[in-house]
């Protein structure tokens, strides 16, 4: 556990300046280097990593292995395209080829697989014991003698007590491969890519020359708006003219919520496998399970277009309660169309990040927790 604290000690992939020298108020000699270092600060050089924009799957792809490691260990950004979360394909492949020891450098997917094997074996043993108890009961009721193999303390057959190591003893390396190149890359969602670019540590490359002059916020909003339009009308030709951006554009609402929870210090991950938009971790997936499941509901002005039926609420709440998280309804209160268009059209005359900040400041995040309430459990 202390190893995790060392590996993941950085909260963001930003280079911090060297700390200021210690100062003792009663000793004037310590004032001089402190004042000098404070006034003539040396700005650390921020490394800017590269990523490639993939318009079709609404993601940005990082292939540099140093960048992949940096983004994962300093804020848990992105997802390995061949892994469940952390990019671990390289380690898993080497182990399946026999190039790594059985218990060497275990990764999350392998730990889960081993737990599932244990669980499966336990269930098989339990079913075997229950079957023998039933046969014993039938023989008792019919007055027949019980053979030794059906006694209560008889041993289990050998195939039920075999360990996982025995099953995976045979190594599957018929071509005797000795080295494996790492072909896995890191996928960033658009809110993640924007967040990293806004910190100044990510540079987004694209092949389309039409994207050259667009700020990143507008670029992503246009791509997502075009993607949403394509799902509604397949006959629409995909042109790169500027689509009309609404205040509740899917990218903008996701970005407002993502940015809000990131700015509080939460680690925000995708929540699709639990039917929600985001999962919130306090420190990161390697430290604890996610505490909150966030469902985004956009509202424009004083109207809320999307709403849920009661059975949908109960289905979602059942899923989230089963995986031991708290369901949070996150209402992204978007500005009205007039206020939004006023800021959106100011883009040409403003600095990119001044404009992005003014757009994001118009959104308000309000959260409501939804839980099941049982009267008989709330009487104390």
């Amino acid at each position: 556990m202390s190893k995790n604290h060392e590996v993941y000690k950085d909260a963001l992939p930003i280079s911090l300046a060297y700390p200021l020298p210690p100062i003792i108020l009663t000793n004037p000699l310590t004032w001089i280097p402190y004042i000098y270092r404070y006034l003539f600060r040396k700005t650390p050089r921020q490394v800017q990593w590269q990523c490639q924009l993939h318009e079709s799957d609404l993601s940005c792809v990082v292939t540099d292995s140093e960048a992949i490691k940096k983004f994962w260990t300093s804020g848990f950004f992105g997802k390995g395209n061949l892994s469940r979360s952390e990019p671990t394909w390289h380690t898993r492949t080497k182990r399946s080829l026999g190039l790594l020891g059985f218990d060497e450098d275990l990764v999350a997917e392998e730990v889960t697989a081993r737990r599932r094997f244990q669980r499966k074996q336990f269930k098989a043993q339990r079913a075997y014991r229950e079957n023998r108890a039933r046969e014993r009961q039938l023989l008792l009721e019919n007055g027949k003698p019980i053979p030794a193999s059906l006694e209560e303390d008889a041993e289990l057959p050998e195939y039920l007590t075999k360990s996982l190591k025995d099953f995976s003893r045979v190594s599957e390396n018929p071509y005797h491969i000795t080295s494996v190149p790492n072909v896995e890359h890191l996928q960033l969602t658009f809110p993640e890519a924007f967040f990293l670019a806004s910190l100044g540590v990510l540079r987004i490359n694209y092949e389309n020359p039409n994207f050259e002059l667009l700020p990143i916020l507008k670029l992503f909003a246009n791509i997502v708006a075009n993607s949403v339009a394509l799902t509604h009308d397949y006959s629409l030709q995909q042109s790169h003219e500027d689509p009309i951006i609404e205040p509740d554009n899917k990218f903008l609402t996701e970005l407002a919520a993502y940015f809000y929870f990131r700015q509080q210090g939460w680690v925000v991950k995708n929540g699709t496998k639990f039917s929600v938009d985001f999962l919130l971790y306090k420190k990161g997936p390697v430290f604890s399970h996610a505490e909150f499941a966030i469902l985004l509901i956009p509202c424009v002005g004083n109207k809320q277009k999307y709403n849920m039926q009661w059975h949908e609420v109960h289905c979602l709440n059942r899923v989230i309660a089963q995986v031991k998280k708290s369901l949070i309804l996150c209402y992204v209160q978007c500005p009205s169309i007039e206020d939004f268009n006023k800021i959106w059209k100011n883009q040409a005359s403003m600095n990119e990040w001044d404009w992005a900040e003014s757009v994001l400041r118009q959104y308000l995040i309000r959260c409501v927790t939804l839980r099941r309430w049982v009267p008989s459990r709330n009487r104390d």
Partner: protein
């Protein structure tokens, strides 16, 4: 060991059975020995109704079925002097009890000057339905259960209201109509915080420190190396990640405000009942703050309330005074709570909506070892 979002393979072993979802096993009533006079609290035994061809399973089912029939075949008797008789008053829409006795009237009814007890329609129907009271009409005829239903349900508001009322009553809660509770408006007036000298001093120090940070002699020495803003962060030099997060505070979050209690009447969602936990100190004449506020809806007519309807419900609820110490508990329980009872053709499910404030800073845990300078900045952040 990495904690990933996967099912714990041994969770099913430790998962406790949800007692409220089980169908009642009538066998436990057989443990009550009425003849000997000694009463033992019934205990829940192990139940295994899985027929697998053995006589043991068949007899288990037979035993449970016989126990239920034995329990239900006992005739309930009451003596004449303990009978409670109410008279339905159609003009008032209530019933009147001349002689009220028993523990139920501690949490029900309203007494008048002639020492008679008046019951609301839902209270009348509840007592008649559970067999604790007889209801007679004004003409002197006993009313059947169907007659009491016909007279009471229109005055309860809806059948859903009565079903929720009866369910909470059977669970032991004291349930009061919300419109019978007077709203204390003076208690929740907006308070403007007056900053004292110490707070002003810290605020000034924080602002001075902020101004001094933007002053950089290196840029004075090289004025031609000025750059445009390269990121969304205002500064380019950070000593701790707290300072980075301080620059990232851009998207606004909701903070609950204690204002006058507003009761809007145009929304589908209204507070129907106030529920109080079972307690010996409950007084219906001096009602305190309710433990739960119940909003009854029918699942056929409504959807999940919108944020504006939720906000109207929360606006009629005072802010909680003592928030828990732990951050996760604060984020789960929230500042205000509303219980929504969803009635789906007689099946009631409850959900709890909590007004939470996500303005909690999680990033302060990363740099717990702080110097004096960071302590000042923390104080400055608290003031802002």
């Amino acid at each position: 060991m990495d904690a990933q979002d996967e099912d714990n393979p041994f969770t099913n072993l430790e998962t406790t059975v949800d007692v409220t979802e089980e169908i009642q096993d009538w066998r436990f009533l057989s443990n009550v020995e009425k003849d000997q006079g000694t009463y033992t609290i019934p205990k829940r035994g192990q139940k295994d109704f899985e027929p697998d061809g053995t006589n043991k399973q068949h007899s288990a089912l037979d035993l449970s079925r016989k126990a239920m029939f034995d329990a239900l075949s006992v005739e309930r008797l009451i003596s004449a002097k303990h009978a409670i008789i109410a008279t339905w008053n159609a003009q008032n829409g209530m019933s009147c009890v001349e002689k009220a006795h028993g523990p139920l009237f501690k949490t029900m009814g309203t007494a008048d000057s002639q020492n008679r007890m008046w019951l609301l329609p839902e209270e009348t129907l509840y007592l008649v339905e559970r067999g604790s009271m007889e209801c007679w009409s004004e003409e002197g005829l006993p009313m059947s259960l169907q007659a009491v239903y016909s007279a009471s349900i229109p005055l309860c508001g809806s059948l859903e209201n009565y079903l929720v009322y009866a369910h909470l009553r059977r669970c032991g809660f004291s349930v009061i109509r919300s419109n019978l509770v007077p709203v204390k408006e003076d208690e929740y007036r907006c308070d403007s915080k007056i900053m004292n000298f110490k707070d002003l001093l810290f605020l000034g120090l924080g602002k001075a420190s902020q101004i001094l940070q933007t002053f950089n002699f290196r840029k004075l020495a090289f004025p031609f190396s000025k750059r445009r803003r390269q990121s969304i962060l205002l500064h380019d030099t950070f000593y701790t990640y707290e300072e980075v997060y301080h620059d990232l505070q851009i998207v606004r979050g909701y903070v609950p405000i204690a204002c006058n209690l507003i009761t809007s009447s145009d929304s589908l969602f209204q507070i129907t009942f106030h529920a109080y936990k079972p307690s010996a100190s409950f007084k219906k004449s001096a009602l305190s703050e309710p433990d739960f506020r119940i909003c009854v809806v029918s699942s056929q007519d409504t959807l999940l309330p919108t944020i504006f309807e939720i906000d109207a419900l929360f606006s009629s609820t005072p802010l909680r005074q003592n928030m828990p110490q732990h951050m996760f508990q604060r984020l789960k329980e929230g500042y205000r709570n509303i219980i929504i009872a969803i009635v789906d053709y007689g099946v009631i499910s409850y959900i709890r909506l909590s007004d939470v404030c996500f303005e909690e800073k999680v990033y302060t845990d990363f740099s717990k070892k702080g110097s004096k300078r960071k302590r000042v900045s923390k104080k400055f952040q608290q003031l802002v």
